[in-house]
Amino acid sequence: MDYQISLKVNSTDYQQQVPARRLLVDFLRYDLGLTGTKEGCSVGVCGACAVLLDGEMVASCITLAVAADGAEITTIEGIAEGGRLHPVQQAFIDHGGFQCGICTPGQVIAAKALLDVNPTPTEDEIRQWMMGNLCRCTGYYGILESVINAARTLQEQAR
């Protein structure tokens, strides 16, 4: 059965009919064409499909689209502000935070979600928080560096 949902994705309002079983990741990728959100494991453990739902990080591969009714969603396409990369994104470029890039949208979302609630995380807090985002290319060293430096940049900007 189809349901009518209305939601905001990256500041744009959408009203759409979706089948009950449509997953949020498929809704974003194939109904809205926002393919920046990636599907890796399909069971909510790899983090590639992470999006922000009302500011909270969720795995869109195990979230139904109907569960996003009335919500505000931010995907990787909505992280840059006014055409300028977010400091988290810039840090991933400057500090070797990506290689193949398939996990990167999820990594960036996760890092932003962390720094939104904890602007000055310790290295250990970063390691624990980012545990849910798998990366096979970098060995995580570049990602860790990127998050540390993004936090620094955001702190400097806030001053």
Binding site: P19, G40, C100, L134, G139, G142, I143
Partner: protein, 750 residues
């Protein structure tokens, strides 16, 4: 001698960075074509069975379904990267759990998935064999009785049952070596089935137009080889097939196979629509092309002083149901069973064996992680018996300049010893540990830059902007940025003025693609050659403009210097602006290059420092020192990225990753159950790069893609022994195995 570079040696940020961090980069699963259908496959639940009957009629009539196929609906040709032994869809029998038996194409993925449930297959189970050694016995079922008829076997198959390749390497007289030895040691080792763990599953999109022309988007890193494989199985000429460039979401050797592409074409033909197939990760872990499990037996003769005299080695690779997923029939790394040592008498046997398991393929330095885990563990076990320090034992035997390799070859500029010494130094080898149950372990391996073929053009426009055009897909290594740096250096222009355009397979005759630590060498020399050709043409043009001979013109810092009194200088951009009158025109340099085998290799020694919990057997890696025998480094950031990613993959291999198969059925079918390292797992990493030496790649550089993942498992195994005296000879080194080894050690105490 040091050469002053401007761009080479700097950590230039990747041009694809902004797209990758903002979700704009296109991967195969993102490709959307008008009218495109979704293809899904039904897989065998049995490891070995005869297909009695398949009925797809109910699936065919399901809503949204446009095609439903069985093996009977398509030509019977077999497919393979070299050995063509794999059906596109099973016909009469299935040989592993996960083999494709039927396929559907439907309007959306949900409809395709539901249609699979409506397919009825009647199987008759056959006796199966899972263990490679058992499969070699005459009593085991023969899985490929028609092997003699297969295309692609470089030599006749072995007379041994299910052995499709038996390879031998060696030198000297190994029996004589054992007779001359004071002590002879024999140990056996085993290594597990491992998935490459790229986060992007295999995917493909195929469109066939009315004239039969095929267009494809595939996350395959060797698209020209794929085109040739598909041309053979579809029986259409290669020039009717175009593969379009696409970014690849992780490779590690796993993305060189045809996977669903042969089938996707038939779904497109039968539905008359473009078709997309995306494996989900469950299928990835069940039925992709993982790293081979191996059983390795080593026998080594030594003098009492620790000098190696003889090595007899055999490795049995459990290849699974098909040999089709390897670019060669055997795994080249098996020839490393002599290790990085001077051994006068060597005999190595490698067996590739069919079993009813998932067919295996390539993964980062194929066979070497298995081989060096065994060789390096064996070295420490011998050292312990002889009462020698493992470091001293390695120093005594390590291959040096002028020595023959264990297989009778030779390398120039052998720096194995330096890597061992520097690793010992950096790790504080021999110094007391700062806590109980801590240990250090060492391992060494080598990986030469691989050969291959490539084609490039480098164009400069009127504004002096440079474009490199090559049919080399981005697998994530940063190759395009490395090539921009090589070309910028040669043309003495800013790297920001050089862009990389990926061409499709129609644009050039051939490219070997990514793999085998090849790209910096093969693609690098190709791009450099094209840049040199362009430079020569520009010099000629500048000489013409100033009415002089090209011998009097040099290019420095983006400016031509024209000898004379007085000397004149003219920027490249002035020459290009004057010579290139038509907008859109360019001066183009070209190069087709076929690399020969590198005269140098690259050694890597690692020391792992671990702490073992003797109560639980849990191993915690505290630190890894990784020492690399490098050439010039073109991009330190991407170079380091390869080292870091490889080390952590090696750590996953050593400690946690295993596709657990019971009677051919893999039981850990999600990334929640198949554990790969996460950020909290990563140890302190110290990278030591030797002073740059020579290399066959541009500006005396080498490859770095594979080496760092090879010695890790041996280093960790040896560190665990050093920590608690527990010797684990099978990978992965799980807490259960460590605990068992600790108890065995205790029960053996006098």
């Amino acid at each position: 001698m040091t050469t002053a570079f401007t761009t080479v040696g700097t950590p230039v940020a990747r041009a694809e960075g902004p797209d990758k961090v903002s979700g704009q980069t296109l991967y195969t699963a993102d490709v959307d074509l008008p009218g495109m259908l979704w293809g899904k496959v039904l897989r065998s639940p049995f490891p070995h069975a005869r297909i009695v009957n398949i009925d797809v009629s109910r699936a065919q009539e399901a809503p949204g379904v446009r095609a439903a196929l069985t093996g009977r609906d398509i030509p019977p040709a077999l497919v393979g990267r070299l050995l063509r032994d794999c059906p596109v869809l099973a016909r009469d029998r299935v040989r592993f759990v996960g083999e494709k038996v039927a396929a559907v194409a439907a309007d959306n993925p949900e409809a395709a998935q539901e249609a699979l449930l409506l397919i009825d297959v009647e199987y008759e189970e056959l006796p199966a064999v899972f263990d490679a050694s058992e499969a070699m016995q005459a009593s085991a079922p023969s899985l490929h009785p028609d092997i003699e008829s297969y295309v692609g076997l470089p030599q006749p198959p072995s007379p041994m049952n299910n052995v499709f390749a038996h390879n031998r390497w060696g030198k000297g007289e190994v029996e004589q070596g054992f007779r001359e030895s004071d002590r002879v040691f024999e140990h056996t080792f085993s290594a597990q089935l491992m998935h490459q763990g790229y986060i992007e599953p295999h995917a493909c999109v195929v469109r066939v137009d009315d004239s039969g022309r095929v267009e494809m988007w595939v996350n395959n890193k060797a698209p020209f080889n794929l085109r040739s494989q598909l041309s053979a199985v579809w029986d259409i000429p290669e020039n009717r097939i175009t593969l379009h460039p696409i970014s690849i979401g992780g490779d590690f050797g796993g993305k060189g196979s045809f996977m669903d592409t042969p089938l996707c074409y038939y779904l497109a033909i039968h539905s008359g629509r473009p078709v997309k197939m995306v494996m989900d990760y469950l299928q990835e872990l069940m039925a992709a092309n993982p790293r081979h499990p191996a059983d390795i037996a080593l026998k080594t003769g030594v003098k009492n002083d620790g000098t190696l005299l003889a090595r007899e080695a055999s490795v049995v690779f459990n290849s699974g149901a098909y040999g089709a997923f390897k670019p060669r029939v055997y795994l080249g790394g098996a020839d490393h069973l002599g290790g990085a040592y001077q051994v006068p008498h060597v005999s190595i046997d490698s067996y590739m064996v069919y079993t009813n398991n998932v067919p295996c393929g390539h993964m980062r330095a194929p066979a070497k992680p298995q081989v060096h885990f065994a060789v390096e563990s064996h070295m420490d076990m011998i050292a312990a018996e002889l009462g020698l320090d493992p470091y001293e034992f390695r120093l005594r035997n390590v291959i040096r300049q002028g020595d023959e390799t264990p297989t009778g070859g030779s390398w120039e500029e052998v720096r194995a010893e330096e890597t061992i010494r520097r690793a010992a130094q950096a790790s504080g080898w021999g110094q007391p540990k700062d806590r109980p149950n801590a240990g250090r372990g060492m391992a060494i391996s080598d990986q030469p830059p691989g050969a291959g073929q490539s084609e490039a053009s480098v164009a400069i426009d009127a504004e002096g902007k440079v474009e490199i055009r090559m049919a080399l897909w981005d697998t994530g290594t940063g190759a395009h940025t490395m090539l921009r740096q090589v070309v910028a250096e040669e043309l003495t222009v800013p790297v920001d003025d050089v862009r990389f355009t990926v061409q499709n397979t129609d644009a050039v005759a051939f490219d070997s693609g990514s793999g085998g630590s090849r790209v910096t060498y093969t693609a690098g020399q190709t791009a450099l050659g094209a840049a040199r050709d362009l430079k020569a043409k520009l010099v000629q043009q500048a000489a013409g403009l100033y009415e002089t001979e090209k011998e009097y013109v040099t290019l420095q810092g983006g400016t031509f210097v024209i000898e004379g009194t007085p000397a004149q200088t003219v920027p490249i951009t002035e020459v290009t602006a004057r010579v290139i009158s038509e907008p859109g025109n360019a001066i183009i340099g070209e190069m087709t290059y076929s690399a020969t085998n590198s005269p140098v290799t690259s050694y890597c020694t690692q020391v792992a420092e671990v702490e073992v919990d003797p109560e639980t057997g849990q191993v915690r890696v505290e630190k890894i020192v990784t020492v690399h025998d490098v050439g010039a480094i073109i991009n330190p950031m991407t170079h380091q990225g390869q080292i870091e990613g490889g080390v952590i993959q090696g750590m996953g291999y050593a400690l946690m990753e295993e596709l657990v198969a019971e009677e051919g059925r893999i039981s850990n079918l999600t990334l929640g159950d198949y554990k790969i390292p996460t950020m909290p797992d990563i140890p302190k990493l110290e990278t030591v790069l030797l002073e740059p030496s020579t290399g066959p790649a541009p500006f005396q550089s080498k490859g770095i893609g594979e080496s760092s993942n090879v010695p890790v498992a041996g280093a960790i195994a040896n560190a665990v022994y050093d920590a608690v005296g527990a010797r684990v000879t099978s990978l992965p080194i799980t807490p259960e195995k460590v605990l068992r080894a600790i108890r065995e050690r205790e029960s053996n105490k006098p």
